[in-house]
């Protein structure tokens, strides 16, 4: 799969290229700002764009805005945003527009190469990857709502679901069995009063409610 990298720090760009190449991506272009990124995506139509959030000229949220444009204009390009700090507000911007093919991770996660590559592949395949820090930020805003009915363990499971992980990955992270995870997820769906529908859709609804992005 082809990928485009947008990162204004040359030093880090070299590292990102190496990591993606190791993961089997073909690097179509490396750029240093959002405008060049959009041009590169238009030209190469890559399967993945790895984008730094803070880029010239404003050094604020250029990457987030570029990601929204990319997901809208070139839906076949998945976007993974990288940032020194993650902000739930930017995550909300991303997730209200898309629930697939987006990732938002701390830069330091790249250092855990194998996990990072797994997240990037997941996003490229149409999944999501949210940094645990974003999830933690959303937790501090929780109001009195059905989420309060969850046990701490169930909330942990939900947080991992929000990060975009599969049942197996959640089971590995919490060191429990797959069936235990399935049981927790059923409890969560029941406690959040989600309508009986196909499991995947309910799962997405649960995550959206958790993220506060759900209209219901």
């Amino acid at each position: 799969m082809r990928a485009v990298i947008a990162e204004d720090s040359l030093l880090l760009r070299v590292g990102l290229v190496k990591v993606l190449e190791m993961a089997g991506f073909e690097i179509a272009a490396e750029v240093g700002d959002a405008e060049a990124l959009l041009a590169a995506v238009e030209e190469h139509r890559p399967g993945l764009a790895l984008v730094d959030v803070r880029m010239p000229p404003g050094f604020t949220d250029e990457g987030v805005r570029a990601a929204l444009v990319i997901r809208k204009q070139w839906p076949q390009t998945a976007v993974v945003l990288l940032s020194q700090y993650v902000e739930e507000r930017y995550a909300a911007d991303l997730l209200t527009a898309n629930t697939s093919g987006v990732g938002y991770l701390l830069k330091q996660r790249v250092a855990d190469v194998e996990e990072f590559v797994a997240s990037v592949r997941r996003v490229a395949a149409g999944g999501t990857a949210l940094d645990p820090q974003v999830v933690a930020q959303l937790l501090v805003r929780r109001r009195s709502d059905p989420l309060d009915r969850l046990t701490p363990r169930e909330r942990e499971v939900l947080a991992l679901m929000a990060e975009g992980r599969s049942n197996t990955a959640i089971a590995e992270a919490l060191i429990v069995s797959d069936s235990a995870v399935a049981k927790h997820i059923n409890n969560i769906l029941a406690k959040l009063d989600l309508p009986a529908a196909d499991a995947d859709h309910r799962r997405v609804l649960a995550v959206l409610r958790f993220l506060g992005a759900s209209p219901t």
Binding site: R54, R89, V110, A111, D112, V113
Partner: protein, 375 residues
Amino acid sequence: MASVLKYRAWPWLPLPFVLILLGVLALTAVQRRRYRVLLGVEILRLPAVREQGWLRRALRWLSGARTWRQAGYHLLVGPLLAVVELGVFAAWVAGLAGVTVNGWAWMLPVQVRLDHVDYATQAVYYTAAGVLLLCAAPWLTGPVTRAETRIALALLGTSRSQQLQQRVEHLSESRTDLIDAVDTERRRIERDLHDGTQQRLVSLAVNLGLAKATLTNLPDEARAVIDEAHREAKEAIAELNDLVRGLHPAVLEDRGLDAALSGLAARVPIPVRLRVDLEERAAPTVESIAYFVVSEALTNVTKHARATRMDVTVRQIGRMLRVNITDDGIGGADTSTGSGLSGLAKRVGSVDGTFHISSPVGGPTTIAVELPCEP
């Protein structure tokens, strides 16, 4: 009257007034010098008008009461005083002339002496009048001089209380400048660290991560060293991130206080409930201080309070921003000089905010801060 208006030069009549008005600054400087040289009286200098652009400066100057007080002095009061002073001067001259009349009367032309044949008898009266005038002249001169000085001080200079007021204005202006400068400096440091050291550290950790992932055929000792270096690089990133995050995050500038605070709250190892209710964004300096208050308070609670939960609320009440931070910890917070909390109180005070802390031993601790939305 009609003939005066028909007079061709009448449009020029206001000219001297205009000239005096334009010359007010120069005339005041001349008068100030005259008082200093002749009487040793120092008329306090008025502070210069501070305004951007010459037109606004000129308008501000023209609309200022002090400008018209000076113009009034030069146009009206000054000439009147001059007349009075001329009278006093005349009293001195006439007095001297009267007293010495016998000494110089014989020098007068013959014709004058013939016209006043009995000048010898009149000279007695002149002498008596001269003595009286000379006695009275100092009594006139003193009060007139004092009155003149007082009027000049009032109209040309500035009073002590006005001067204090100006000093207060100047101090509060320079304080605002200083606070802004501190804020700008924090932003600059944040930006420098973000663009430099942080990227370098991430790059280092990524390279070590790559080494760890790809160099699988190394001896165990070498792998252990790489693992250790990798972990330390990640810890260094986390520590630096925490430090820099407390300075001035980009999201604070970009999306405001509400967006920035959740990032702080999520870093604390104990559960924090955050409520932010703001109708509009406060001034950047105020947002920055509110952010700093929450940042420091969270750090303090984590370090010392042994709390199990915290509540942070930020609300706007009228033109005030109210920040409340409560924890269920052990209380007894150190508010002495040099502690983190006294630094907070100072930073809050720098924009005329109020800082209250209640921390009885045994807890709970409540910090209440109010900041004006516009400093």
